[in-house]
C-alpha cells in the first residue's frame, strides 16, 4: 500500500484533470512494482520520450499537447535522432522518419521542455546539484548524475519520465534512498601502472569491465587518481551503463559520496573484490574492437556528447592537419557546448581540418551515418559497444590521439597492448 499526500490523491482521483490522472497512474504502477512505500517530490527531469522510433512516440506527444501538459519542474530534453539545427548532412535518407522525429521534438519544445537536446545535460549550467531528487532517463546521464553529481535517480524509461515530470513525483525507492546507494562490490585498479590510470581510454575500458561484471550491484572503483577528469568519469558512466546497466557507482577519493571506503560502503565490507589487470584491459578492448588495422572510413566522437574540454584537446591534436579524403570525421555535441567552442575559436580550427560537428543528435542513431559501411574508429566505449548492433559496421576503439592519427592517415592506428 502506497501512502499518498492529499495532492497525490487528487491527481489519482482525477481532480487535477485527466492527463495528471493518467500520469500519476504510470508513476503509481512503477511504485507498486518497485514496492515503494510513498512518492517524493522531484526537482528536475531529463526527458528521453522526445526520442522517436515510431508513431507511438508521436501519438504520446500529441496527447500531451492536446491535453495541455505543463511541466512544474525544469525538464530538459535528451538528444534526438535528427539534428534540429540542420547540421545533419544526410537526413533525406528517410524523410518520413525525419519528419516524425522533428514533429515529436517540436512538440516537447512547445509544451515547455528546455530544448537542450543532449545526452550530457550535466555539461550545462544550472542543472541538478548534490543531493537533489531527480528524474533521469538516458542511461549514461542517470549514472553520471548519481555517481558524479550526487543527484539521485532511478532509470526512468520513456513515458514514465514524462509522467514523473508532469506530476513532479518519483517513487521513493532504489537509488533515491541512502541504502540503495551503498557500494557493494569493488573493482581495484590500483595495480595498473600509474601512467595508465591517468588515461581517459583506460576509464572507458574500466567502464566496460564494470558493466560486464557488476550485474545489479553498486560498484566501487579503487585506485584512480584524485585528478580523474569529468570526461573520464563520463566514459566510465556511459560504458558501464551500455555493457551492463550500472546506474550508480563510486570512485574512491573522486566521486562525492566516496571520499573514503568507509563512506562508500556505509560501514560495510564489499561482497567481492575484483582486481583489474592490464590483461583485463586488453580483453575489454578486444570486446569493443572488431578490427585493429586497415583502412578507416569514419571517425565518430562524442558519445555521450563531446564536452568543451574534449573539443579543446581535439583542437590541439588536429591543428594544422587534414582529415584524410576517404574519412568522414564526425563529432556529436549539444548546441550549447558547440556555441561555447565556437566562441573560443577552437571550432574554426576543428572544422578547417575537415571535421564535421553534429549538433543535437548522435552518430549511432542518426540517419547521417546509416549509409556508412565502416570501419569506424571511436574513443567512446559506449559507441563501440552498441554500434555494431545498430549499424552494419566494424569498429575500432582507441584513444582520442589514436582517433585523430587514424583520421589523418586514413588507416587505423592503435596503441600496442597494455599487457605487452
Amino acid at each position: 500500500m502506497i501512502e499518498l499526500s492529499q495532492k497525490e490523491k487528487d491527481m489519482r482521483d482525477g481532480k487535477e484533470g485527466p492527463l495528471l490522472k493518467f500520469a500519476i497512474s504510470l508513476v503509481l504502477k512503477a511504485a507498486n512494482i518497485w514496492q515503494a512505500p510513498r512518492l517524493i517530490e522531484a526537482s528536475f527531469a531529463h526527458i528521453d520520450a522526445c526520442h522517436y522510433y515510431g508513431q507511438a512516440h508521436l501519438d504520446f506527444a500529441r496527447k500531451l499537447e492536446r491535453e495541455g501538459a505543463t511541466f512544474p519542474i525544469p525538464s530538459w530534453t535528451n538528444t534526438v535522432p535528427v539534428s534540429l539545427t540542420g547540421s545533419d548532412g544526410r537526413e533525406k535518407n528517410n524523410q518520413a522518419f525525419v519528419d516524425g522525429a522533428k514533429e515529436v521534438a517540436e512538440i516537447y519544445e512547445r509544451i515547455g521542455c528546455k530544448p537542450v537536446w543532449t545526452c550530457a545535460p550535466y555539461q550545462l549550467p544550472d542543472g541538478p546539484k548534490f543531493g537533489d531528487q531527480i528524474v533521469g532517463s538516458e542511461s549514461n546521464a542517470v549514472s553520471f548524475y548519481n555517481a558524479v553529481v550526487g543527484a539521485r535517480t532511478q532509470k526512468y524509461g520513456d513515458f514514465l519520465d514524462v509522467a514523473c515530470a508532469l506530476t513532479g513525483r518519483v517513487p521513493f525507492t532504489g537509488l533515491h534512498r541512502d541504502e540503495g546507494r551503498i557500494g557493494q562490490i569493488e573493482l581495484d585498479v590500483s595495480f595498473l601502472p600509474e601512467e595508465l590510470r591517468h588515461e581517459e581510454e583506460i576509464c572507458h575500458l574500466i567502464g566496460i569491465i564494470m558493466g560486464r561484471d557488476a550485474g545489479s550491484k553498486v560498484p566501487v572503483i579503487r585506485g584512480l587518481p584524485s585528478s580523474t577528469h569529468r570526461d573520464s568519469l563520463k566514459g566510465i558512466a556511459a560504458a558501464g551503463a551500455a555493457s551492463g546497466g550500472v546506474a550508480m557507482f563510486h570512485v574512491l577519493g573522486v566521486t562525492p559520496e566516496a571520499p573514503d571506503a568507509e563512506t562508500a560502503y556505509q560501514g560495510r565490507t564489499p561482497e567481492r573484490i575484483q582486481k583489474v589487470t592490464a590483461t583485463d584491459l586488453d580483453e575489454a578492448k578486444a570486446l569493443v574492437s572488431s578490427v585493429r588495422s586497415g583502412p578507416v572510413n569514419m571517425v565518430a566522437l562524442g558519445t555521450p556528447h563531446f564536452s568543451y574540454d574534449e573539443f579543446q584537446r581535439l583542437a590541439v591534436l588536429i591543428d594544422g592537419r587534414k582529415v584524410h579524403p576517404d574519412v568522414t570525421f564526425y563529432v556529436s555535441t549539444s548546441r550549447f557546448v558547440a556555441q561555447m567552442v565556437q566562441d573560443s575559436g577552437a571550432m574554426d580550427i576543428i572544422e578547417r581540418a575537415g571535421v564535421q560537428v553534429l549538433r543535437d543528435t548522435c552518430t549511432y542513431f542518426s540517419p547521417a551515418v546509416k549509409a556508412c559501411k565502416g570501419p569506424v574508429m571511436t574513443n567512446s566505449g559506449k559507441w563501440a559497444f552498441y554500434a555494431p548492433g545498430m549499424l552494419p559496421v566494424d569498429v575500432a576503439f582507441g584513444s582520442l590521439r589514436d582517433c585523430v592519427q587514424s583520421a589523418v592517415k586514413g588507416e587505423i592506428v592503435m596503441a600496442p597492448a597494455f599487457g605487452s
Partner: protein
C-alpha cells in the same frame, strides 16, 4: 483433466489466449527487436530471426533500456508485437509500455509475473489463457 490455473501478479491487466514463445534469454524491446515486423534482431540472441507477432511471449526477466516502453507500445500499436507477456521477475518498463498503449490505442496487452515454480510449470506447455485478474491457465 481440468487444466490447473496459476496465479500471477498483474503488472498490466488484459486477456489473451494463444501459443507461447519461450525465450531462452531476455530480449530488449529497444534495439533487440524490430517493431516494424516483430522480429528479434539482436545478433547474439539464440532466437534471433524469430517473430513474436501474435504469440504469448515468455521471458524470465526484462532487458532494460530507456526506450523499452516505446518499443512495447509501438509493437502493440501496429500489431507486430506479442499478445501478452509473462515474466518471472517484475519489470517496470514493459508494464509502462503496455499501459501507454492501453491509453492511446485501447488495446490491452496483459503483462503478468509468475512465481518461479509456476514459471517452470508454464514453460512445459504450448498454449495458455490469461484472465483479466491474472489467472494463467496452461493447456
Amino acid at each position: 483433466m481440468t487444466p490447473q490455473s496459476l496465479k500471477s501478479e498483474v503488472l498490466h491487466p488484459g486477456t489473451a489466449q494463444g501459443e507461447l514463445l519461450v525465450l531462452d534469454t531476455p530480449v530488449s524491446f529497444w534495439g533487440g527487436f524490430d517493431p516494424n515486423n516483430g522480429e528479434i534482431i539482436e545478433a547474439s540472441h539464440p532466437q534471433c530471426g524469430e517473430k513474436v507477432t501474435g504469440k504469448i511471449l515468455v521471458m524470465y526477466r526484462g532487458k532494460g533500456s530507456a526506450g523499452t516502453p516505446a518499443g512495447v507500445a509501438e509493437s502493440i500499436r501496429n500489431g507486430s508485437g506479442p499478445i501478452a507477456l509473462i515474466l518471472c521477475e517484475p519489470e517496470v518498463n514493459i508494464a509502462i509500455g503496455a499501459a501507454v498503449a492501453s491509453e492511446l490505442y485501447d488495446v490491452h496487452m496483459p503483462v503478468v509475473c509468475l512465481e518461479p515454480d509456476d514459471y517452470t510449470k508454464l514453460i512445459e506447455s504450448n498454449k495458455t489463457d490469461i484472465s483479466l485478474t491474472g489467472e494463467v491457465t496452461p493447456h
